[in-house]
């Protein structure tokens, strides 16, 4: 029975430890409830902790408001928020993409942002009903194998990807929100028939499906495939991790008028339970301030949406990336896109 005794002692020790750590979070949450104590704002963040925690720390330093950030996948957080409904402890939802914000808004859970807070953001990048706003822009690019292709050989239009020359050499992430938003935008600009024909062309050309953009970039970086459709900042993030000289993959933007040149946004909205919470409103305004926007440019290599902030080196100007105007809020027909992707067999 000595094994039992050892386990029992371990259990007692760890229970004490767990009670401590559980106690800490309990006290911090109850501190948030009391008025005079340092304010605590609960944020549900679809953005990764690795990336965004330093920014949150900066906010706390500047304003004194503590952030209790809950990290997760944007879509799963959206599902959780809808499941929680009015009982949600969250005050702010900082989403990796506009689709998740739209879904939470459609469930009636977002409160209007304070008047004028998001005025600096171009109308195309925020909700017309004022319930959410984009914070940074994420451009679609083609990642290509730098060893096998030169920059001039890379197609300048996504329509070229169905060319037999690229058979079995193209990677996409059909379950990824960015890809789906891009397809929805393509449907709006070029029409359903052309988009469906393009998707079918991709499938016939042996397109490879990946779960995430990061995996596509890895595949291009190891020479598994020659081309991949990803968001622009993935390359910059990986280069920061391993060094740009070690990157086999390179990125290229498609022509400005091409549907492939599409910009999605990471955005933020205030939950209806925190509609009059000044801390939440301050957080939203702060994210759109020049210093925060500059932080994004320098650390995540995304596009600042507020004019007047310098973009990262080497990136084409944001204005040049928009094809025919596609306001993000109009990308509400996600179910239609999903049906189309399912019909062609990509989902």
């Amino acid at each position: 029975m000595s094994c039992f005794r050892i386990t029992a002692t371990l259990a007692a020790a760890v229970l004490a430890l767990a009670a401590c750590s559980g106690g800490q979070s309990a006290t911090s949450e109850s501190a948030g409830a009391s008025a005079g104590a340092p304010q605590i704002l609960t944020v549900y963040s679809g953005r990764s902790e690795e990336l965004i925690a330093p920014l949150f720390a900066q906010f706390t330093e500047e304003t004194g408001i503590e952030l209790a950030a809950r990290y997760g996948d944007s879509a799963e957080l959206a599902a959780q928020l809808v499941e929680e409904g009015d009982a949600s402890p969250a005050a702010v939802f900082f989403s990796q993409d506009a689709g998740a914000l739209g879904a939470v808004d459609a469930a009636g859970l977002l409160a209007p942002l304070p008047a004028g807070a998001a005025d600096a953001v171009p109308p195309d990048y925020r909700a017309p009903n004022g319930h959410w706003t984009g914070v940074t822009g994420r451009g679609r690019v083609i990642a290509y194998d730098g060893e096998q292709l030169t920059a001039t050989e890379v197609p300048t239009s996504v329509f070229d990807l169905t060319d037999p020359a690229w058979k079995d050499q193209v990677g996409i992430a059909p379950t990824n929100a960015s890809f789906q938003s891009f397809v929805t935008a393509m449907r709006l600009t070029t029409g359903d028939t052309a988009t469906k024909a393009w998707l079918e062309g991709l499938v016939a050309n042996g397109v490879k499906k990946y779960e995430k953009n990061g995996l596509i970039l890895d595949a291009v970086d190891t020479g598994q495939i020659k081309l991949g459709l990803v968001n622009h900042y993935y390359w910059y993030e990986k280069a920061a991790e391993v060094g740009p000289e070690n990157m086999r993959a390179q990125v290229a933007f498609t022509a400005p008028a091409d549907p492939g040149t599409f910009v999605n946004v990471a955005g933020v909205g205030i939950l209806s339970g925190a509609a009059n919470n000044p801390a939440a409103q301050q957080f939203v305004s702060w994210l759109l301030s020049p210093s925060a926007q500059q932080w994004f440019v320098e650390n995540t290599y995304e596009y600042a949406l507020v004019p007047g902030v310098a973009q990262a080196e080497g990136l084409p100007a944001l204005d040049s990336l928009r094809g025919p105007d596609v306001p993000l809020a109009e990308l509400a027909d996600l179910p239609g896109t999903l049906m189309m992707l399912q019909d062609v067999g990509l989902l």
Binding site: C3, F4, G22, S28, L51, E76, E84, K238, E241, Q342
Partner: protein
């Protein structure tokens, strides 16, 4: 020999509570499905993609279970019966893959062999990671089987192998079958490996419904299919397990079987096989992770963050495991002692949620805590409850089997000597079956440490486990930063895996020469 009399009402009531807790995810699914309406249900189910992905999932289950049995049972025989050097080391190595989450193993293999993808790659990884579910219980069962039956078979003219196969193996089949059930349910619910290898399995369709379309209703409809598949597996395992008794009913002493001597060539081949298995299951992923580790990361490793995550992982998993064992006790005892229809039904209900992907269980518990006790939402208690619900079957199986190994006559004797019912039970059956129950608890502990989707949803804001930290780094492809967390997770989970093998070893070793009581119940069907 089991009682068919009336089960004590308190026992049934307690089991009812456990079943109620276990049925939460199913109840959630049912409510969502009823929300959906018949049109949506039929359109979700009858899509051709649903059919093809279901078939792929079933094929994956069949292949992985078959591989685990075909490789696992002979390995179990080697570990239980053959005379090999460093036996203890091989047993531990055979159990250690349990410490490796499937998504870590998959991503480590892809890092080494980027071309790996598809059905067979996923089948390989899932087999390597879940083989211990078959090996451990079968080894324990083989070690504790009384050799008398085999000797009788030999004396009646059978050759050694034939005697083993027809006399001894039938006693070990239930252990192997129970292990295969867990393997099958695990393969059905796994998302990490199939997603990384780009296999169009059923879980992928469910996750797509949640992530891509925020559509909880059609995802719920699809999840019901998984429950049905799980029910089929559970029924199949029941048939194989049968109704045989597990303890000696005659006189005489129980002995351990003597070890078989192998020729030096056979011994070499056995060692090569075991080494090969260890390299594939442990060596390759660990090497790959170490390589990523050396490639560096953007932010330097924060040791405090790592230590906190480790303590949290261990602490919450331990709570979950204790809760699971507590809840499983009543159902396990009921199923072992009173084999009535209702006890079997209760057991089946408790198992049924095991095939569900973590995201379904997570969302169902979000609903449950918010409805029943909102103050408990996003607390350590809710997370421990989630783990208990998710991994209840592992504990039930272990409890049921170890209790079934103890003859009721001991308890009855204690009663005649004047002990009260509860005291008699505690001093006899409970004490003897404790190693098996503890093994079930260790298994739950181990699996809870690797759990991801439900943890993400239910943990208190700010509490990170090793699994969530690992996930947040791989999400942004920061593999160099993820490697230390992956390695720590494997190292920490290896502790309960190792304890599991030690307990098994001790239990079967103490079965020598005991003429008064039957052999102490081994940790067979750890996963049963």
């Amino acid at each position: 020999m089991s009682r068919h009399g009336q089960a004590p009402r308190t026992l049934v009531a307690l089991s009812g509570v456990t079943a109620l807790v276990a049925v939460t995810p199913l109840a959630y699914l049912l409510i969502r499905v009823l929300d959906a309406g018949p049109e949506k249900i039929t359109s979700s189910l009858l899509r051709s993609r649903t059919l093809t992905t279901t078939v792929t999932s079933i094929e994956l289950v069949v292949v992985v279970v078959a591989a685990c049995l075909v490789i696992g049972v002979p390995v179990a025989w080697l570990l239980a019966r053959a005379r090999l050097p460093l036996k203890g080391l091989w047993i531990v190595l055979a159990a250690l893959p349990l410490a490796m989450p499937s998504y870590v193993a998959a991503y480590a293999w892809i890092a080494e062999f980027p071309a790996m993808s598809g059905f067979w790659a996923a089948a390989l990884i899932l087999t390597l990671v879940s083989m211990p579910y078959v090996i451990i219980p079968t080894t324990a069962a083989l070690r504790s089987i009384d050799p008398a039956m085999e000797e009788v078979a030999r004396s009646l003219g059978r050759k050694p192998w034939s005697a083993f196969w027809f006399a001894a193996m039938p006693q070990a089949w239930p252990a192997a079958a129970a292990g295969s059930l867990l393997v099958g349910l695990y393969v059905l619910s796994d998302f990490g490996a199939v997603a990384l290898f780009r296999v169009d399995a059923f879980t992928r369709v469910i996750y797509t419904s949640y992530r891509a379309s925020f559509d909880r209703t059609s995802a719920a409809v699809l999840a019901v299919v998984l429950v049905l598949l799980a029910a089929i597996l559970i029924y199949a395992e029941r048939r194989v397990r049968g109704r045989t008794a597990r303890w000696r009913t005659g006189s005489g002493s129980a002995r351990r079987a003597t070890e078989v001597d192998l020729t030096s060539r056979q011994r070499l081949m056995a060692i090569l096989a075991l080494t090969g298995l260890a390299i594939l299951g442990l060596g390759v992923p660990t090497f790959s992770l170490l390589r990523r580790l050396s490639e560096g990361a953007r932010r330097p490793l924060d040791l405090v963050e790592l230590a906190t995550a480790t303590a949290n992982s261990f602490g919450v998993s331990l709570l979950g495991s204790l809760l699971a064992v507590g809840l499983a006790l009543s159902v396990g005892v009921l199923a072992a002692r009173y084999r009535t229809r209702s006890s079997r039904a209760l057991e089946a209900v408790a198992y049924s949620g095991h095939a569900l992907p973590g995201v379904v269980v997570g969302l169902s518990l979000v609903s449950l805590t918010l409805i029943v006790r909102p103050a408990m939402y996003q607390t350590v208690a809710a997370l421990a409850l989630a783990y208990a619900v998710l991994f209840l079957p592992k504990s039930i199986g272990a409890t049921r089997t170890s209790v079934a190994m103890v003859p009721p006559v001991l308890e009855q004797t204690a009663r005649t000597l004047g002990r009260g019912p509860l005291q008699a039970w505690l001093e006899t059956t409970f004490r003897l079956s404790l190693p098996g129950i503890a093994a079930g608890g260790l298994l739950v502990l181990l699996t809870a440490m690797k759990e991801l989707p439900a943890t993400l949803m239910l943990r208190p804001t700010g509490l990170d486990t090793l699994a969530t930290e690992l996930w947040s780094r791989t999400e942004i492809a920061a593999y160099g930063a993820a490697a230390p967390y992956a390695l720590t997770l494997i190292a920490v989970a290896a502790i309960p895996a190792w304890l599991l093998t030690r307990a098994t070893d001790r239990a079967s070793r103490s079965a020598d020469g005991d003429t008064e009581a039957p052999a102490r119940p081994p940790l067979s069907t750890v996963g049963a």
